[in-house]
C-alpha cells in the first residue's frame, strides 16, 4: 500500500469513518471552545493520513489516534495551536452547535467536578478510563507508558476520586445512556470506577 494509492485512500477513509466521532469527542471533552476541537481532529487525522502505514491495526488504532490527539491538544494548549489550515467548515459548524446537556454525557457533573480537584496526572488517566472507556493497557498505549506503570496510577487516581465523592453507592462515573448502546468497544455504558483492571 503506497502513499497516494487507491488502497491507501480507501484505508484512510475507513479509519476516518470508524474513528472520527471518537477523536472529535476526545477533543470536545477537553477543549473550552467546541470549535477548537475541529483543529485537534484535523491535525490528528492529518498525522494519520501521512503516517497511515504506521497506524496499528484494529483494535489498537483508536488508542494510537488518541495518543496523537493528546499531543496535538497539548501543543494547542501550549500555544502552538495555530489554527489548523484544514477543517474551516467543521470549525464553523462546531461553533454553532449546542449539544443537549441533559443527554449523552459520559459522566455525572459531580464526578467531573470532583475530578477537577485531582492532579493533572490523575485527571488524565481517569479521563481516559472514564471518558474514553480505555483499559490500563490501552491507556498505556495512549500515554506511551507501560501497563505496569498505568495500573497502579489508575488505582490511586480512582481511590482519590472516590474519596472526593459523597458517601453512597459506588459511583460509576457515567450517566445511563439514553440513546442506545455506545459504539462497540468504546464508551462502555457503565465505565465503573470499580471495574477490575486487566
Amino acid at each position: 500500500m503506497s502513499p497516494g494509492s487507491g488502497a491507501h485512500e480507501d484505508a484512510f477513509r475507513r479509519l476516518y469513518a470508524a474513528h472520527f466521532d471518537a477523536v472529535l469527542g476526545f477533543a470536545l471533552r477537553r477543549v473550552d471552545r467546541p470549535e477548537d476541537a475541529a483543529d485537534v481532529a484535523a491535525d490528528t487525522f492529518l498525522v494519520a493520513w501521512r503516517r497511515l502505514a504506521h497506524v496499528p491495526a484494529e483494535p489498537e488504532a483508536r488508542p494510537w489516534l488518541y495518543g496523537v490527539a493528546r499531543r496535538v491538544l497539548a501543543n494547542h494548549r501550549r500555544g502552538d495551536g495555530r489554527r489548523s489550515a484544514l477543517g474551516d467548515r467543521l470549525r464553523r459548524e462546531l461553533a454553532t452547535v449546542a449539544p443537549d446537556p441533559s443527554t449523552d454525557v459520559v459522566q455525572r457533573a459531580d464526578v467531573t467536578a470532583a475530578m477537577g480537584r485531582l492532579s493533572g496526572r490523575d485527571q488524565e488517566v481517569l479521563e481516559l478510563h472514564l471518558w474514553e472507556g480505555l483499559e490500563p493497557r490501552e491507556i498505556a498505549e495512549v500515554l506511551g507508558l507501560t501497563t505496569v506503570v498505568v495500573r497502579p496510577r489508575l488505582s490511586r487516581a480512582r481511590a482519590r476520586l472516590r474519596a472526593l465523592l459523597p458517601e453512597g453507592p459506588e459511583p460509576d462515573g457515567s450517566e445511563p445512556p439514553r440513546n442506545g448502546p455506545a459504539p462497540a468497544g468504546h464508551l462502555p455504558s457503565t465505565p465503573q470506577l470499580t471495574r477490575e483492571e486487566r
Binding site: 502513499p3 491507501h8 477513509r13 476516518y16 466521532d21 471518537a22 469527542g25 470536545l28 471533552r29 473550552d32 467546541p34 475541529a38 481532529a41 484535523a42 487525522f45 498525522v47 493520513w49 501521512r50 503516517r51 502505514a53 504506521h54 494510537w64 495518543g67 499531543r71 497539548a74 501543543n75 494547542h76 494548549r77 501550549r78 500555544g79 502552538d80 495551536g81 484544514l86 477543517g87 467548515r89 467543521l90 470549525r91 459548524e93 452547535v97 449539544p99 443527554t103 449523552d104 454525557v105 459520559v106 459522566q107 457533573a109 467531573t112 467536578a113 477537577g116 480537584r117 492532579s119 493533572g120 485527571q123 498505556a140 498505549e141 495512549v142 506511551g144 440513546n179 459504539p183 468504546h186
Partner: protein, 349 residues
C-alpha cells in the same frame, strides 16, 4: 465543553458537511511519511515546530528562592519535568558528540526538540525555501530506520554510499531536490539528515559543513533567543520577579519553596511552565481559602490572579499563542468567585 459529550452524541451533531470536507482536505494533502521514525515507540512522537523542550538529560531545577507571594497556606502545584538533573553546562569533557549542527551563514534555526529519556532529538534549519533537518536517534533503532528508508525507492534498496562526518552513510532520494541520509551509529546514536528544496550536489555540500557537537556545544550553537540550561535559572528568576512586581507582592528570600523545574529552551514554553505554576498555586489558594471561609486570603488570591493581565511573561507570550488567554480566563472565573474546573489540566500543572 461541559458537560462531557459522549461519542454517540458527537455522531448526531449537525456537522456532516464539515466532517466530509475535512476528509477531502486531508486526502488532498501530499503524503510525506518519510520524515518520521518507524513506529518502534509505543506512542507517536511530537512533530511540532516550536515545541522546544531542550536537552531532557540536562533538565535543570530552577529553584524559585522564596517567592513568598506564592500562597503560604496552599500547596503549590507539583513541578513538571521530574527530578532535577545535571545542568548541561556541567557536561563532562568527554561527553558524547552525536548531535550535529550547521554553522553556515544564512541558515537559521527554526526548530529544536530533544526527546526525554535520552531518546534523541532534532534540529531544523531553513534558508529561504530550502530546509535541513538533523535528527539523532538511539543506535538501537538503526536497523529499523534503514529498513524503513529502503522503501523510499522502488524496488527497496540500500542507499547510495556518501561520506557524512567521517563515516560512510546511505543516501536516498525522495525527489530530485529532496534527499535523506542515514549515518551509522557512533557514540550510541545514528544521525539522519534530510535536505529539501535543493539538488543533491547542494545537499552533499551542506553535509560537508555539519559539525559534531556534545551537549554543551549544541547549546552554544543555538541562537540567542533560546534559553540554555545555564541561563535558565536567571530567566526564570526574571519571570518570577516580573510576576511579583505586577501583582504587588514581595518576594522574600529565605523561605523554602518547591522548585520550579523546566527543561524548556523556548521562552514561550518556559514562560508557560513558570506562569502556569504560579497561577495554579494561587487558584489552589483561592479554593482552600474558600473552603476555610477565609475571605481575606481568598481576596488576596483573586487580586494576584487578576494581576496576571500585567504579568510581563504572559504579555510577552501573548503574540505567540493562547496560553496567556487561558490564565486570564481562569483569573476571570476566580474573580466571579468560581474555582475553575479542570484548571490543572488547562494550565498543565
Amino acid at each position: 465543553m461541559d458537560p462531557k459529550i459522549s461519542d454517540d452524541a458527537v455522531g448526531r451533531l449537525p456537522i456532516a458537511s464539515g466532517r466530509a470536507e475535512l476528509l477531502e482536505e486531508i486526502m488532498s494533502t501530499p503524503v510525506t511519511d518519510r520524515t518520521t521514525a518507524p513506529d518502534t515507540a509505543a506512542a507517536p512522537r511530537r512533530r511540532t515546530v516550536w515545541l522546544v523542550p531542550l536537552a531532557a538529560a540536562a533538565a535543570v531545577a530552577v529553584v524559585a528562592t522564596g517567592p513568598l507571594w506564592w500562597p503560604s497556606g496552599g500547596e503549590p502545584a507539583s513541578a513538571p519535568g521530574g527530578p532535577a538533573a545535571q545542568s548541561g553546562a556541567e557536561a563532562a569533557a568527554d561527553a558524547p558528540t552525536y548531535r550535529a549542527v550547521l554553522d553556515t551563514p544564512g541558515w537559521r534555526v527554526t526548530h529544536v526538540y530533544e526527546e526525554s529519556g535520552g531518546n534523541g532529538g532534532e534540529i531544523s534549519y531553513r534558508r529561504g525555501q530550502t530546509s535541513l533537518e538533523v535528527h539523532w536517534r538511539p543506535g538501537s533503532l538503526y536497523d529499523d530506520y534503514v529498513e524503513d528508508r529502503r522503501d523510499i525507492v522502488d524496488p527497496p534498496a540500500d542507499g547510495e554510499p556518501v561520506e557524512v562526518l567521517g563515516l560512510t552513510a546511505q543516501l536516498w532520494p525522495y525527489s530530485a531536490d529532496d534527499h535523506t541520509v542515514i549515518r551509522p551509529v557512533e557514540d550510541g546514536f545514528l544521525l539522519e539528515v534530510r535536505g529539501s528544496g535543493m539538488p543533491r550536489s547542494a545537499f552533499e555540500d551542506l553535509l560537508g559543513e555539519l559539525r559534531l557537537v556534545d551537549e554543551a556545544g549544541f547549546e552554544q550553537a543555538l541562537p540567542d533567543e533560546f534559553v540554555t540550561a545555564s541561563e535558565r535559572d536567571a530567566v526564570v528568576e526574571e519571570m518570577l520577579d516580573g510576576i511579583a512586581a505586577a501583582s504587588g507582592q514581595e518576594r522574600t528570600q529565605g523561605e523554602e519553596q518547591p522548585p520550579i523545574t523546566s527543561d524548556q529552551a523556548d521562552r514561550y514554553h518556559l514562560g508557560a511552565e513558570v506562569a502556569g505554576q504560579v497561577a495554579c498555586a494561587w487558584i489552589e489558594e483561592f479554593r482552600a481559602a474558600n473552603q476555610a471561609g477565609d475571605q481575606q486570603r481568598a481576596q488576596e488570591a483573586t487580586d494576584v490572579l487578576a494581576s496576571s493581565r500585567q504579568w510581563p511573561v504572559l504579555l510577552d507570550m501573548d503574540a505567540r499563542g493562547d496560553y496567556p488567554e487561558a490564565v486570564w480566563d481562569y483569573a476571570d472565573q476566580v474573580a466571579r468567585g468560581e474555582v475553575p474546573e479542570g484548571f490543572r489540566g488547562g494550565l498543565g500543572c
